[in-house]
């Protein structure tokens, strides 16, 4: 050890040792935390230009017999024994992703609490899907939030441009859906992402003209995404077509990417999406 090393060590120890401790170390921490939280949200809201909307699909209550769908008359399959999808059917948790995921941090917890005041403490947030890096600035994922008021599924969009990226938008979707999907759109970008439970075996996209493209089988559970920004596409008339493992096929309207408000979700037990016997 050189003389400088020894002297440097002595100087640092002396200077630090002469410092009196703070009288109340807890003072101001909560207020500072709130400041940081508000700054993070404000900084991220200022720069996000992309919109996120979400649609959820519930296991439909099938009516045996004929079902009229989009100009076709087709026989619907007899309903299978419908067992409710467990609320955590899609949840994989942060542990499945290895190290703590960048979206699953205090920013998300804090942003949720600020967006939903009065809903009680947030106990945990776990990933339902993988994180989709949509642009160099934007990534999002589907998450399950466990809070004092009960669980909720959330589509979260995160702007990573700032030093402290935070969730910029979250939308609650119905618990128990076999599929949760979101549309992300912005300048020169339109895509759909989805996370599925083990009840979904395949998907396809109807651009609004009755044809099917992007047909694919998926592992269970799985994630998928594809671009919407291709011709032809009739916005407001296109569908995400999913095939369940019991043979049911569910068509879900792809929502308009309207940042003004959330998309209305079909809820379990509510009006059934149109169905058709197709693809698989």
């Amino acid at each position: 050890m050189t003389p400088l090393d020894e002297t440097l060590r002595a100087v640092l120890t002396d200077r630090a040792g002469a410092l009196a401790p703070a009288s109340d170390p807890m003072a101001g921490i909560a207020d500072r935390a709130r400041q940081i939280r508000r700054w993070r949200i404000a900084a991220s809201m200022a720069g996000t230009a992309l919109a996120v909307s979400a649609v959820a699909v519930a296991v439909p209550a099938l009516t045996p017999g004929r079902t009229t769908v989009r100009g076709q008359v087709a026989h619907a399959k007899a309903p299978a024994e419908t067992s409710p999808v467990p609320a955590n059917a899609l949840a994989r948790g942060a542990d499945d992703r290895g190290l703590l995921h960048p979206l699953l941090d205090a920013n998300v917890v804090a942003a949720w609490a600020d967006r939903h005041p009065g809903e009680g403490a947030v106990y945990s947030i776990s990933l339902i899907s993988g994180t989709q890096q949509v642009t160099p600035r934007l990534r999002f994922a589907l998450m399950e939030v466990w809070r004092a008021g009960g669980p909720a599924w959330v589509v979260g969009a995160q702007d990573t441009a700032g030093p402290n990226p935070v969730i910029t938008r979250d939308e609650v979707v119905p618990i128990g859906a076999p599929l949760v999907a979101a549309v992300v759109s912005g300048p020169a970008l339109a895509m759909i992402i989805a996370a599925t439970s083990n009840t979904v075996s395949a998907y396809a996209y109807d651009p609004g003209d009755g044809t099917l493209r992007d047909r694919s089988r998926i592992p269970s559970p799985g994630d998928f995404s594809f671009n919407l920004d291709r011709e032809p596409r009739r916005v407001g008339q296109d569908f995400l077509v999913t095939t369940l493992r019991d043979g049911q096929v569910v068509r879900v309207p792809v929502p308009d990417p309207d940042p003004a408000g959330p998309t209305a979700y079909p809820s379990p037990g509510g009006p059934s999406p149109q169905q058709t016997v197709c693809c698989g």
């Binding site: 400088l4 060590r9 205090a106």
Partner: protein, 171 residues
């Protein structure tokens, strides 16, 4: 945050804040900035508290938060912090022989770039290894070695230190 977590966080703060304040002081050079840095660090730790699963790694986590927070303070181009003049040295030291040198070295620390100063504090005060320092700073071990080496070279070359020890006793 539930009551149990809040109590655990409070216990952590009460137990560790004196040591954390000392580190913050060495990073910033003055008490006011140190208290501000400590409060920011603890606030960020508070926001992450329920997510931190490995309590054994808590000190390392908090150090990282502190160093990163100090870096962001500098990046906001705050005015260069003035270094406090601490009037008393530890008892038993030869005030006449060491005071000028210590003052000069403390003042010279103020001119070090933030990363070099952080490396010096972590290596020479916190006594972290090069690998541990690299983890806190988020850089490679090689970068820690070069940062520390450059910091020491800058201190040796500092004019005020040369004036104090013209015979090169620190080399």
């Amino acid at each position: 945050m539930d009551d149990a977590a809040h109590r655990a966080f409070q216990a952590f703060v009460v137990g560790r804040s004196p040591a954390l304040l000392r580190t913050a002081y060495l990073l910033t050079g003055n008490r006011a900035d140190a208290e501000d840095l400590l409060q920011t660090t603890l606030a960020k730790t508070y926001l992450s508290w329920q997510r931190i699963r490995d309590r054994e790694a808590l000190d390392g986590y908090v150090r990282r938060v502190m160093v990163n927070a100090q870096t962001s303070v500098w990046r906001r181009h705050r005015p260069e912090a003035s270094y406090d003049v601490v009037p008393d040295l530890s008892p038993g030291r030869d005030a006449h022989a060491d005071a000028d040198l210590h003052d000069a070295l403390w003042t010279a620390m103020a001119s070090l770039p933030r990363r070099q100063r952080a490396a010096v504090v972590l290596r020479y005060y916190e006594d972290l290894s090069e690998a541990e320092t690299a983890r806190v700073l988020g850089v490679s071990v090689g970068t820690v070695k070069s940062s520390t080496s450059r910091a020491l070279a800058s201190l040796r070359a500092d004019a005020s230190l040369r004036d104090t020890h013209p015979d090169g006793a620190l080399t």
